[in-house]
Symmetry: C2
Subunit: 136 residues, 2 copies
Amino acid sequence: MKVSSRGEYALRALIALGLQEGNVSTIADISGQTLVPAAYLEQILLQLKMLGYLKSRRGKKGGYMLAKAPDQIVIGEVIRSLEGPLAPMGCVSITSYEACPLEGTCLLKPFWALIRDSIAQLLDQTTLAHLIERKL
Amino acid sequence: MKVSSRGEYALRALIALGLQEGNVSTIADISGQTLVPAAYLEQILLQLKMLGYLKSRRGKKGGYMLAKAPDQIVIGEVIRSLEGPLAPMGCVSITSYEACPLEGTCLLKPFWALIRDSIAQLLDQTTLAHLIERKL
DNA sequence: TCGATACCTGAGTATGTTAGTCAACATAAT
DNA sequence: ATTATGTTGACTAACATACTCAGGTATCGA
Ligand code: FES
Ligand code: FES
């Protein structure tokens, strides 16, 4: 049930940028604060930009900043974009359902569904603003 | 947040055996019921045996059966044995803690802890008996 | 006792994922 | 023009996953 380093790093970066409120931060800055290797962080920031969470300015005095208000950035969506569905099995995923062979009689499916609901509810009701303001 | 096929297969096998209550089942039988490739299932059953969930009889008329009552088999423990800690990050794992570099100031840690608690509570309060009797 | 039927053991393999690195390029400010 | 920045795409090492397979060993029934 681990979350990958990529997902963790993305959230760290979003938090770092959220705390800057308005100012641009260079990759090197963010790398310093988050302890994520700069070259790897680069990839992740780019992806977050394509997903619409960040905007960037090139050249001297360039850098990254949030493209949305922190309370508009839902953690569940970020994780889904970076690591795929939250559900533990394809057959209980709402966002990307995939059939199981035993599905008709499977005694596990309702259980997986319970887990999915529990995780998804938590992640989808938490925003970047909640994390930054320590209001969970 | 996916659970691996190994974990899923193990649970399928435990359910199949739980429904047999007392009778031994051969690997081929279980494979037929669970649709898990027999050679792979063999590995998994062996592991479940070493972990104390199953016992076996060799030779003709041999096979596997549960070593414990279904209400003594906690799903959380099975998953942990097969796939490692339930926690999404090492720094919030109770059973196998691992330090994070940012741990002092990290705004994510309390959030991961919440997720861990939610998952662990669900998995640790569910037993094989609950699955078999459809009482979740 | 013999042989068939099971489980047991350990090695091997194909495929994919993760966690990065690196070189070269494009753009904006000074 | 120079320099500081983001951009792009390819590349790699290491590991995990999902299996297969070739034997070995115990047990039952005839
Ligand atoms: S786990 Fe998907 S149907 Fe059983
Ligand atoms: S995630 Fe472990 S301390 Fe931040």
